[in-house]
Subunit: 364 residues, 3 copies
């Protein structure tokens, strides 16, 4: 295990040089021995890693079905302790990571205040997080300042005691483990339906500001045979940078406001909430978003094999009556999130091959 | 263990039909295989279950006296994780459940905020708690809205992944595990004094609004030979629904304002605090409650075998000097609360017979 | 283990008599079997105990370098549960204790609110903490009221269920485990440099109000060959009671405002932050404290063997560029804090000899 504490590529580059790199080029700085060490941006993942993570997640949840399997899992990383630092509130993501740690024996500790007591005493945010790294073997953090998790990863890599940093949401842009759980849900759902190839996926709602869709569009684009639909009122439509990325990768896509027309066509509908917490002048109020709600009457138009996703929390985008439809996947998404995070942490600490060994004994 | 996740009777009844049932008829919907699965109201318990729980609690605390016993207990439910969701603050009950989980190896997680971050983002309370059920094997919850825990139990029973729900206090009415610890304290204290039969128990203070007394009066009424005294200023006297229940069960009781007269007569005094947080117009201020305080000079009038209880926190109802009197039971009540919750959780997960096996080896 | 729950010397003395004792005479009341049971004031430690603690800390961190060692440590106190009650916010000290508990298998629980819910309901602070003692095997507490931790230790010693109390900072005066980690850092740093004998240590900054320096000056004074420098602007200079203590012990010291002159002379510089949270009328603002900052250009004047310490959090007293200088010890101080707390808790529960046994096997 000791080797994961060795030199990080982040040690070989200055902060100013690093921060100016395009997203696609940053990823290799977060690796160690060809596996993710820091997990900071969705763009750091390529297909082989994604698929390995999904396989590990599925095997782990199978193992967790017996008391013996749970005991095996709790022993995998009993020797690690993790800091969950959530400077921005998030019950769902917080508990998902907390549970993931418990499942594989990691002892968690938490700071969930918007401002720590040290910040009150005038400490810099960098010093605050460096303190966490002194006590724990891993930092899982959510922070309102975009890029702050990257800053910390770089800074810790240049100390005597670096630890892995997982970004659990930062600023407006990045929430890489949400993107992982979404792609896991897609891959898992399409497993018996011919895989991702040729599928049509619609993103609906606030596509301008939801970091979820922005990250997921990138990961879906790793599967070039998939067509993406962006369904939103004009002011909330997906930004140009994402479209450029899709163009560059030769991915088919379509922008539209006509949700009704799209429903019967697609294999997955990814609903999102209006992110009015980012409003600067109450602009969301002036937009009629009801045409972008999924209603019970839509269900009969939707393909029988299609799936409905939502990162949650939801408001009125999806009527609660839809929850019991077998195509509704959003509650399973929540569980998928816990398991993909388990897989990710095992992978960071180079323990995923022990899952394989136990799993092969199990099925043989 | 898997069988506890099977069908719940709550799945067979609509919410509107269920919620209209009298308390006494609701209990059977919370059972699974003849044992409590959800724990929501004091009225769901009958004497055999109460006595089995008390026996399990007493055996468990005996087992916990050695390192070997503690190791055995921590292994019983090492494979479970519990969510403690306290939307209403409560240090004592929270820590009691938290400790209970730790003792039997359950890994706890907590949300102690009045409002979760998701609620801030417009999520319904039902969705919030359903998220918890996705990650954890049990939900222990306190909520300001009366009946909310029942609502959640019903709702989860109608999903693919129901988990047991324990009500740790909801609204003005129910706090069933407080009633359990109180009855445990009574049974334990009277064990060497001929049992409950023929005992006289006085409830003193704010009987109108304290949910503790309302629940306990019900459980004490399962022992028909016990006479109950309700000692309170008129506006805070016990409500008619409790008296009707006692009448129906043929239980003897007396209402009085004369605390002094009652003190030498009774075998147990259950003191309570004025619950002025429920005041709508500062009405508690206009009531002189000092005649309902237990003072040091009362002690010589009290039977040598009598006991003094209080659910805590206390204000001035009991002078701190009384704490060192051997009849003062309220600090033991606190510990009893932890152990009866241990027993309850073991019972929910069908592990209480392992306590018996270990205990029999211990005493043989 | 049971013996640690036996009679405490605190049971033999009334509160009024105890509280009036000089600090040096209080210490013996916190012992049990010649070892600390309660840890409340820096003055309770003598050199043999300090050195034993430091040795245990160093051995423990060596043991923790392997998975097998971590497993051994987690088994030492798996049977204990600790309450961390931080009525005053403190991220660093809180997490240090939390981690220390996890390392040796103690299950922690926490209350980090300024006011507990029970206090809101009118409960006395004494009752609140007594409740904690009902559930847990140890209380680690920080409280804004000076002497409150002592009050609790005395009070619990006079109940049927005393538990050890560790003061994690109380009022303006005491923070004994900070003093322990500071002395540990000094002893460890001077180990290869001839030990403490003959060393010169400068305390710089707000010496009037920082409890850290006041406690550490006492422990350093146990090493009579060490000269102490107090470097501060006049209004923030060290108080007379500390100087009297030094005089009594025959310890050499010097008071000065001339930081520049002192830098090349000393073997250790202990920097501190201006504690303006204690200001009553913004008085810190009128003092120019910049002459008491350590700047990059000072480094070349500092002895190559000297060390730089700081209890953290820092503001501008030390430029971040200094962090990478090998003489900067403040980040190691943070880790030392965790390990000395591990050692302390092991010592309280009489488990330090098991460290010795494991360690001797390790090195043989």
């Amino acid at each position: 295990m000791a080797d994961i504490y060795r030199e990080s590529p982040l040690k070989s580059i200055g902060w100013e040089d690093f921060v100016g790199l395009p997203l696609e080029e940053k990823g290799r700085y977060f690796l160690r021995d060809g596996r993710p060490y820091h997990v900071l941006i969705a763009q750091q993942f390529e297909r082989p890693t994604l698929e390995r993570l999904c396989e590990t997640a599925t095997r782990t949840r199978r193992i967790a079905k017996t008391r013996g399997g749970i005991r095996f899992l709790q022993d995998l990383l009993f020797d690690k302790r993790a800091m969950l630092y959530f400077a921005q509130p998030s019950t769902r993501t917080f508990l998902s990571f907390y549970s993931a740690c418990q499942i594989i024996g990691i002892k968690p500790a938490e700071v969930r205040d918007a401002s720590t007591s040290s910040e009150v005493k005038g400490e810099s945010p960098e010093d605050t997080v460096r303190t966490f790294s002194s006590y724990f073997d891993m930092i899982i953090m959510r922070h309102p300042v975009g890029g702050f998790a990257e800053r910390i990863a770089w800074l810790l890599s240049n100390t005597e005691r670096p630890v892995p940093v997982i970004n659990a949401g930062s600023g407006r842009d990045q929430h890489p483990t949400q993107a992982l759980l979404d792609i896991y849900t897609l891959l898992r759902s399409f497993e018996d339906k011919g895989g991702m190839e040729g599928k049509k996926i619609a993103f609906v709602g606030d596509l301008a500001r939801g970091r979820t869709v922005r990250s997921l569009a990138y990961l879906v684009a790793l599967y070039p045979g998939v067509k993406q639909y962006f369904v939103a009122p004009e002011p909330l439509q997906i930004r140009g940078d994402i479209l450029q990325m899709l163009d560059k990768r030769g991915v088919a896509y379509e922008l539209t406001r006509d949700f009704e027309r799209i429903i019967p066509e697609v294999d997955a509908i990814y609903m999102t909430r209006i992110q009015d917490e980012w409003d600067t002048a109450d602009e969301s109020r002036s937009i009629d978003t009801t045409p972008f709600h999924l209603r019970v009457e839509h269900l009969r138009k939707l393909k029988p094999t299609a799936i409905i996703m939502h990162p949650l929390p939801r408001r009125k985008e999806i009527a609660p009556e839809i929850d019991s439809d077998p195509r509704a996947m959003y509650w399973r998404q929540v569980r998928n999130g816990m398991w993909i995070r388990v897989a990710l942490i095992l992978y960071i600490f180079a323990r995923e091959s022990e899952i394989d060994r136990y799993y092969e004994d199990l099925i043989s």
